[in-house]
């Protein structure tokens, strides 16, 4: 039986990532003139998808 020992920290961080997903654009990037906002959303999504899948495949969450 795998431990899923990182489940709780992962859930807390996931909520933080989703909160950042909402807050950063409205507080810091709302006047974005180039591709910063698109990049922010793309990079944060891609990074968290990568973290999630690595942890999931290893049975840590």
């Amino acid at each position: 039986m795998e431990s899923r020992k990182l489940k709780t920290p992962y859930v807390v961080l996931s909520i933080a990532v989703v909160v950042l997903f909402y807050l950063v654009p409205y507080l810091m990037l709302s006047e974005s003139r180039n591709l910063e906002l698109a990049l922010f959303w793309s990079v944060i999504t891609l990074s968290w998808l990568t973290v999630t899948n690595v942890l999931l495949v290893r049975g840590l969450i």
């Binding site: 996931s14 997903f21 409205y26 990037l29 180039n34 959303w41 999504t45 968290w48």
Partner: protein, 492 residues
């Protein structure tokens, strides 16, 4: 007959023939029970499980609605769609494995059966079936209307579009249930992704240069008009109104909840989440950039201004070579069929399991009953599409809001399956479903579905208010039960 019509007809025949062959050969997996018919007997490998999840989730909205949304409202459309993907993958990773495991331990086949089992309440199951009917039939109808409108615009005819959708939905379910749906979904998912990637490559590699401009100039044009920041459309309330129902999509929509049961083992489950993540990210980014690039061309005066967002894709595609245009149109048809037949199958599973098998009417032939219900649901949706009832199509905008009360009820039971059977939790869950759905439906009747979706009270959209109210009711049931069980004089 125009070139486009000829090429489209040929490609449609090829698409239908290959899909039907795939569906036919999927019969070899064998369908003997409702479990085989509705959830493939829990035997799907990672590739099919992943592709059917992706093709079911991503409907015709992507290539039509999302392209138009990005075109008319800017990069906020990317945030709206990516937060859905992010939240879904987190839910699949955190809650999905337990649901997968419980499904095979307890023999779940339908999503409403899951809730009635977790709460040990047939009433909750029946209410859930009712919510599915009210929420999902308009959504299927909207998919059929979307395809029929495209058929009409290229000269094939609105009624022919309805007929094609109806036949494909029915045939690709009836042949082998979840097996034929999953295999054709995989085929259609590949078609959808290939078409979207082809379109963006064409725009970047051919359309932009041949219009005498560069990608930098297109980006500058978007930047000058503010389309790369938060436009006036995406107020915080609007962003919340769009995203809240979608964040919980994986827990509320029957066609995706049921796809948590289908994997043959946990390795297949994990791999399927990975492939879905890749598919979802690629498809979303590509589709949004199509909308943004076309908007940039419009701002440079190189593409006509399209005032109605749903017409951006048809206007763009009408300027392409007939082969490419047909390829894109078929991909939209594929997205609509793969979503619609998965919904019909999931809603039918609730009917068969909760209203027939669980009531001891198992003497009836499972496949005959299932096929009959699938046919009834499909024909009802097609008939509503034929009538072109504005309210029904508009109601599809509210599908995710109507389903939202299911989110707290479902998540609470997934997290605490040993507590959900208590009387207090049961009553709270039922109240939550009834209050939440009544609220959503009342607002829809008072304000109209589209206005309901975007109206805010106290700075919060109606979807947020429904989520808060239903979460509080559900939570109250669990907390009260715990307090009672720990209070002096309790039985435990």
């Amino acid at each position: 007959m125009s070139d486009l019509l000829q090429v489209f007809a040929l490609m449609l025949v090829a698409y239908v023939s290959l899909g039907s062959l795939i569906a036919y050969f999927s019969r070899r997996y064998g369908v003997k029970s409702s479990r085989d018919y509705f959830v493939s007997g829990y035997r799907l490998g990672w590739f099919l499980a992943s592709m059917t999840y992706a093709a079911t989730t991503y409907s015709a909205f992507m290539m039509v609605g999302l392209v138009g949304l990005a075109y008319s409202t800017g990069v906020g459309a990317l945030g709206f769609e990516l937060v859905y993907l992010l939240a879904t993958v987190v839910i699949l990773a955190v809650l999905g494995p337990a649901v997968w495991s419980m499904a095979r331990e307890r023999g779940w086949v339908s999503p409403s059966e899951m809730l009635s089992d977790l709460y040990e309440s047939k009433t909750i199951g029946y209410v859930t079936v009712g919510i599915y009917l009210v929420a999902m039939i308009p959504y299927v109808t909207a998919q059929i209307v979307g395809v029929a409108t495209i058929f009409e615009s290229i000269g094939v005819g609105y009624d022919t579009g309805i007929l094609v959708m109806c036949v494909l939905i029915l045939a690709w379910i009836v042949l082998a249930g979840m097996w034929s749906v999953a295999t054709t979904d995989a085929y259609q998912g590949m078609w959808m992704l290939a078409a979207a990637i082809t379109l963006i490559l064409l725009l970047v590699g051919q359309v932009v240069p041949s219009a005498g401009t560069t990608l930098d100039q297109v980006i500058n044009a978007l930047s000058e008009k503010g389309f790369l920041g938060i436009t006036s459309f995406w107020t915080p309330q609007t962003f919340l109104a769009y995203t809240i129902p979608w964040i919980f999509f994986a827990t509320t929509n029957p066609q995706v909840v049921v796809r948590l049961y289908v994997h043959k083992d946990m390795t297949a489950y994990r791999k399927s989440v990975l492939l879905f993540s890749v598919f979802g990210f690629l498809y979303t980014v590509v589709v949004v950039y199509v909308g943004l690039l076309v908007r940039g061309l419009t701002e440079l005066g190189l593409f006509e201004h399209v005032s109605k967002s749903d017409l951006v894709t048809p206007t763009l595609v009408s300027r392409l070579h007939p082969v490419l245009a047909s390829f894109i149109y078929i991909s939209i048809l594929a997205a609509a069929v793969s979503t619609a037949n998965s919904i019909i199958l999931a809603v039918a599973s609730s009917f068969v399991r909760d209203l027939i098998e669980k009531r001891g009417k198992s003497g009836l032939s499972v496949s005959k009953v299932s096929n009959t219900i699938v046919a009834l649901l499909t024909i009802t949706s097609a008939y509503l599409a034929y009538l072109r009832l504005g309210f029904v199509v508009d109601l599809s905008v509210l599908t995710s809001v109507l389903l939202l009360p299911l989110a707290p009820v479902t998540i609470a039971a997934w997290l605490a399956p040993h507590e959900s059977k208590g009387d207090t939790q049961k009553k709270a869950a039922l109240t939550s479903l009834l209050v939440g759905t009544s609220l959503a439906f009342s607002f829809a009747l008072m304000l109209g579905p589209r206005k309901t979706f975007l109206t805010s009270y106290y700075g919060l959209p109606i979807s947020a208010l429904i989520l808060i109210v239903t979460s509080l009711i559900t939570l109250a049931g669990y907390v009260t039960s715990r307090v009672r069980s720990h209070s002096p004089g309790s039985d435990r």
